[in-house]
């Protein structure tokens, strides 16, 4: 079921994307980034409880180096948006995302952040998907997704990190697009 990495190029805009040269420096730096993804505690609603469960003893996200949940956006690499983003909360989410230092990644956890979830038809105050606000790297559907599904999402982020290039500031082809209809 997992989408292979080639599929990331769905929104590639530069033809040279496929034969990019991953130098050994890239591989080392990508390995370090991949093995210590520090998530930011950004729990909004029910998905936050499952995120805590992933951090707890039973599923232990610390095994993959993502143990320290940093409270401040400055020290976080991965922003897991866990829970419904309402319109009143949206500007805060945007600001927190901007405060994160580059290379930053966003994981939309739960149906509410992917596309509005249970509140999609009558939720006037709910943002229909957080990718209308900030570019999302990985979508993890579920309401709430199991801790294992969250770990799968983390593995997707790690797979994506494998293809980063240290000098490529704009992360051509890998930087996700804002959903603008």
């Amino acid at each position: 079921m997992a989408e292979s990495i080639q599929e990331i190029n769905l929104n590639n805009d530069s033809p040279t994307r496929d034969n990019i040269l991953i130098t050994s420096v890239d591989q080392l730096v990508n390995w370090t980034r991949r093995s210590s993804v520090w998530p930011m505690t950004f729990g909004l609603a029910c998905c936050a409880i499952e995120m805590m469960a992933t951090g707890a003893s039973h599923y232990d996200i610390d095994r993959f180096g993502s143990g320290p949940f940093r409270a401040t956006p400055r020290q976080a690499d991965l922003m897991i948006v866990a829970g419904t983003v309402s319109h009143k909360m949206a500007p805060r989410v945007k600001r927190l995302f901007d405060q994160m230092p580059e290379p930053k990644y966003v994981m939309a956890m739960g149906a509410c952040t992917v596309c509005g979830g249970p509140y999609i038809k009558h939720g006037y105050h709910v943002l229909k998907g957080v990718d209308r606000l900030i570019p999302v790297d990985v979508y993890v559907p579920g309401c709430p997704p199991r801790p294992e599904a969250l770990l799968e999402g983390l593995f997707r982020i790690q797979d994506k990190m494998k293809r980063e290039r240290v000098l490529d500031r704009e992360r051509i082809g890998l930087r996700p697009k804002l959903l603008v209809e």
């Binding site: 309402s86 319109h87 009143k88 949206a90 500007p91 509005g116 999609i120 038809k121 009558h122 006037y124 105050h125 943002l127 229909k128 209308r132 606000l133 209809e181």
Partner: protein, 157 residues
């Protein structure tokens, strides 16, 4: 403090205020005219001892907006009584009871925010749940949710 006794007290004190009384044991309710509401509220709390406002439900009856106060005696037999206050839809004004029951503060702000009933005399009647600059009162039957909010598309399924 059974509903019938409350009804007698109210009948005795404010005869013209009480307009209807439904003694159904499962769901007792009294209808009060809005202009006497503040006075009746005082007697409800002081004389009848209903010192605990459980909740304030704002309902959009097609022609009028209705505020249902669910009251109860905190220490006694816990049987809640529902007091209805109906106000016309165009200018829905109800006197605030914030100083009588402290829970009314946030409940009235919520009723104003979602249903649009203005509570006269409330110390800061601002939106509590929706965003500060939200237009309209979402729980009204004729409410249409906005298509975009701050440029972000909203009505999409």
């Amino acid at each position: 403090m059974t509903p019938d006794k409350v009804h007698e007290i109210l009948k005795a004190k404010h005869a013209q205020a009480v307009s209807a009384f439904d003694p159904n044991p499962k769901h007792p309710s009294i209808k009060i005219a809005p202009e006497f509401w503040r006075v009746v509220a005082k007697t409800l709390r002081d004389d009848c001892g209903l010192d605990y406002l459980v909740s304030l439900t704002a309902v959009d009856r097609a022609a009028e907006l209705e505020a249902i106060y669910t009251l109860e005696v905190m220490d006694g037999a816990r049987c809640p009584i529902h007091v209805r206050v109906l106000v016309p839809r165009d200018n829905p004004l109800i006197a605030t009871v914030e100083d009588i029951w402290r829970t009314a503060d946030w409940h009235e702000r919520e009723a104003w925010d979602l249903m649009g009933i203005t509570f006269v005399g409330h110390h800061n009647l601002v939106r509590i749940l929706c965003a500060e600059d939200w237009e309209g009162h979402p729980l009204r039957k004729d409410y249409k949710s906005p298509d975009t909010y701050h440029g972000i598309k909203n009505n999409v399924t």
